[in-house]
Symmetry: C2
């Protein structure tokens, strides 16, 4: 195991000291052209890349920002990753990316790792964290952002969506459009699914209707949606509206409807949540609630870097409004009503 090349080796090859080589990377203009060329040759020959660890260590900034998402396979988080990536790049920082699998313990371990790398800031999804996670982040005294869910106990920046109010309003609106047998299809893995379910159930009860929620422990995907829909159709009266926790479940439900030859949206409307791109691929295309994930992440990152620069960090809660992603899986009337309801939320 030969020792890795360092500034010293390059310095020796170029016949200068390490300091000059350091300058070659940091402030090339302060190195004489002739010297510069000799150093460049040595760098070229060796493929040398200076270690950032020493400066991460000695400076107060490591130039690193951590982002922990629950899942990589869920399209919702792709937008967040992209926004964070771009923001980090724009600010000359690198993004340390991890996934928790919706497990607060895993998140705890990742946060510990990020702090051990001396990350300058941490971005989390959701508001469910272990006590230890919260304590560590607080005492680290670095900017923290929580995305998607809003919380009354923010660790710092809390930008998100009030999912409960959203589904309450949507359900009420659909009832107003004449739907009576609205069913909610969830998937337990994501804590946000419970908030949505609660909103739905409250609205149903307030209207004197009986809520009917189905969910599963399985990770949400098309198959889950299809299976839940098949189950709904096989037991009890056929619903006239299927409200889904997300687009995956909704698309699965839509596929099941097609194969059961249930006419959508006449007999039954199907509505998803998130507004992922594949909504348009369905036939009929899926009506969904477009959550402003990218905007949330962008705004949060901007504020995060501002706080990082200023050293300040007052807790801040901000709720975002959703819009309707139009399609063919609900009636025009419903879409019109939903659109209006969302814009006044």
């Amino acid at each position: 195991m030969k020792k890795r090349i360092g500034l010293s080796e390059i310095a020796q090859m170029a016949g200068v000291t390490r300091m000059t080589v350091s300058r070659y990377f940091h402030t090339p203009k302060s190195v004489a052209p002739a010297t510069r060329e000799r150093i460049a040759a040595a760098v070229e020959k060796t493929g040398f890349i200076p270690s950032r660890l020493p400066s991460m260590m000695s400076k107060s900034r490591s130039g690193t920002v951590g982002l922990i998402v629950p899942s990589f396979s869920n399209g919702v988080f792709s937008d967040i990753i992209d926004a964070a990536d771009e923001a980090a790049r724009a600010h000359g920082a690198s993004l340390l990316l991890m996934h928790s699998g919706y497990d607060p313990q895993a998140e705890e371990a990742h946060v510990a790792a990020l702090l051990s790398y001396r990350a300058d800031a941490v971005i989390l999804c959701g508001a469910e964290h272990t006590e230890l996670t919260r304590r560590r982040l607080k005492s680290a005294a670095i900017p923290v952002a929580e995305l998607l869910s809003v919380t009354s106990m923010p660790l710092g920046i809390s930008y998100g969506i009030d999912y409960e109010a959203l589904f309450l309003r949507m359900t009420k609106t659909l009832i107003g459009c004449g739907r009576k047998r609205i069913v909610y299809l969830g998937a337990q893995l994501d804590p946000r699914t419970l908030l949505r379910q609660r909103g739905y159930e409250t609205a149903m009860k307030e209207a004197g209707l009986k809520p009917r929620s189905l969910d599963t422990r399985r990770r949400s995907n098309f198959t889950v949606g299809r299976d839940l829909m098949l189950e709904v159709a096989s037991k009890g009266p056929l619903p006239d509206c299927v409200l889904c926790t997300n687009d995956d479940v909704a698309l699965g439900a839509l596929i099941a409807c097609q194969s059961l030859e249930i006419s959508v949206p006449e007999t039954l409307s199907v509505i998803g949540c998130n507004g992922l791109n594949f909504c348009d691929a369905a036939m009929p295309s899926l009506v969904s609630i477009k959550t402003p994930r990218r905007e949330i992440a962008e705004a949060a990152c901007q504020r995060l870097f501002e706080n990082l620069a200023s050293g300040k960090s007052e807790p801040e809660i901000k709720k975002w409004r959703c819009t309707l992603r139009k399609g063919g899986s609900a009636t025009e009337k419903e879409q019109q009503a939903l659109s209006e309801a969302l814009s006044s939320l």
Copy 2:
């Protein structure tokens, strides 16, 4: 901006030296119980987590492995991420995860970042890298793995699939089953799509049939598949088989067929590639080629850590066999034939 807490602060609170605190974390048994408790109290109170940067710097190992995937939204890479994650955890290393967006330049920058963090090993997807990337990785003299595509110029461990041979064989088999108007639907972003296309076209030509390939620059997703299928159906003769570069495109094509009321698999069979979970959600369920991504990644990681431990690293190429993911979008006869063809590849 107050200075972050370090070993010294904890040491002071506990009335010991930094060294004792360091031992508390590294070899707790070598610290007297009473001392241990005082240190524990200080750690608890401050939420202190020791920095790993100094030891990353001074040891020859940083305890860090880099993984660069082209995309997070493509389900293919989820398996690879999971496998790498588990392998890293099992070996006490942490995974530094990045995505290139299928851009070799972005990959180059990420590799540079990984090397600047002194990653102990790097895992890449595919075999397309810039010259600079290759040179840097070579001179870094660390274990490198390339997954999915096999290459004749490996940087180290090259475990993957011969996509060209695979699609050549599949196409031949389908022709053997009586399909004559086989169409290939691709998506340009992934270089592997070209290999698959080449295999398909060679087989068609060898059989005296005219290849018909459609593709797009758009990032592959359901909508792309749907649009390509709609285009195919609107121009020229209706194909009797649609071979797709991946499952996303295939599912989109299937959805288009449903809406066009083309009977699958009687009139036309649809076949995907990768065998992602959502194949089962389609109706009929999608027939696909299951690529052993997880196995490839697991095997590669195991070898990677072996090489890391031993210090050796001979280049190694290994091709993996695919299996058929059965479903309803191809005839029984076709599935039987494909299954046999794959097992003899």
